[in-house]
Subunit: 117 residues, 2 copies
């Protein structure tokens, strides 16, 4: 059985939410946009140490397809593209907040290290 499920069918709400945020960098992209409001491609890249350009474009495009991220292209030279959260993205992020708190607590308890920026 294959359920490489972008857009259902789902077992439940969590399943659907996980579908949309699964990808190594997606929640981090959401987080970054939440904290900065608007970010350009290269800013996002610098904010996520280790991400490749390929993965960043790919993930950001999927988030756009899923209606969580807004992508605005300015026809300038050199090119300028700005990313920000849509209302859906914002509410997703809010729903991720408690998960974030749980994770922070866990890092504290287990003494796991943080990535050095």
């Amino acid at each position: 059985m294959v359920r490489g499920t972008r857009n259902g069918p789902y077992f439940c709400g969590i399943d659907a939410a996980m579908d949309v945020i699964s990808g190594k960098w997606k929640v981090l992209i959401l987080w970054e946009l939440h904290h900065h409001g608007v970010r350009r491609f290269a800013e996002l890249r610098r904010g996520l140490p280790g991400v490749s350009e390929k993965m960043l474009t790919q993930h950001v495009r999927e988030l756009e397809e899923d209606g969580l991220v807004r992508r605005e292209v300015y026809p300038e030279v050199p090119p300028r593209v700005e990313y920000s959260l849509t209302d859906d993205g914002t509410s997703l992020n809010a729903s991720l907040a408690s998960l974030g708190l749980w994770g922070t607590e866990r890092i504290r308890r287990t003494g796991a290290a943080k990535v050095t920026p």
Copy 2:
């Protein structure tokens, strides 16, 4: 760069939480245990249509390693193994609740189908 990160380093709390729940069936296992309290291996299996025995053991063991699931083996024949949530698992599940609501709302909005049980 490789960050196939089970147990850090993490960028932030969400990163840490995602680490622990990434795996095709993990949140579903948590969900199932949350709703039934205690489940045996075969019950869990029947509750997750499509999961293979291999993946179920693997995921359940990782959840145990991560301290989210309790595994009790009764030295009987035929074997009996009971799974339940630990306190950590319970609080994780609580933190997943708002994400679940968001997902349910999304299913409603997008008209995505549910898996037929």
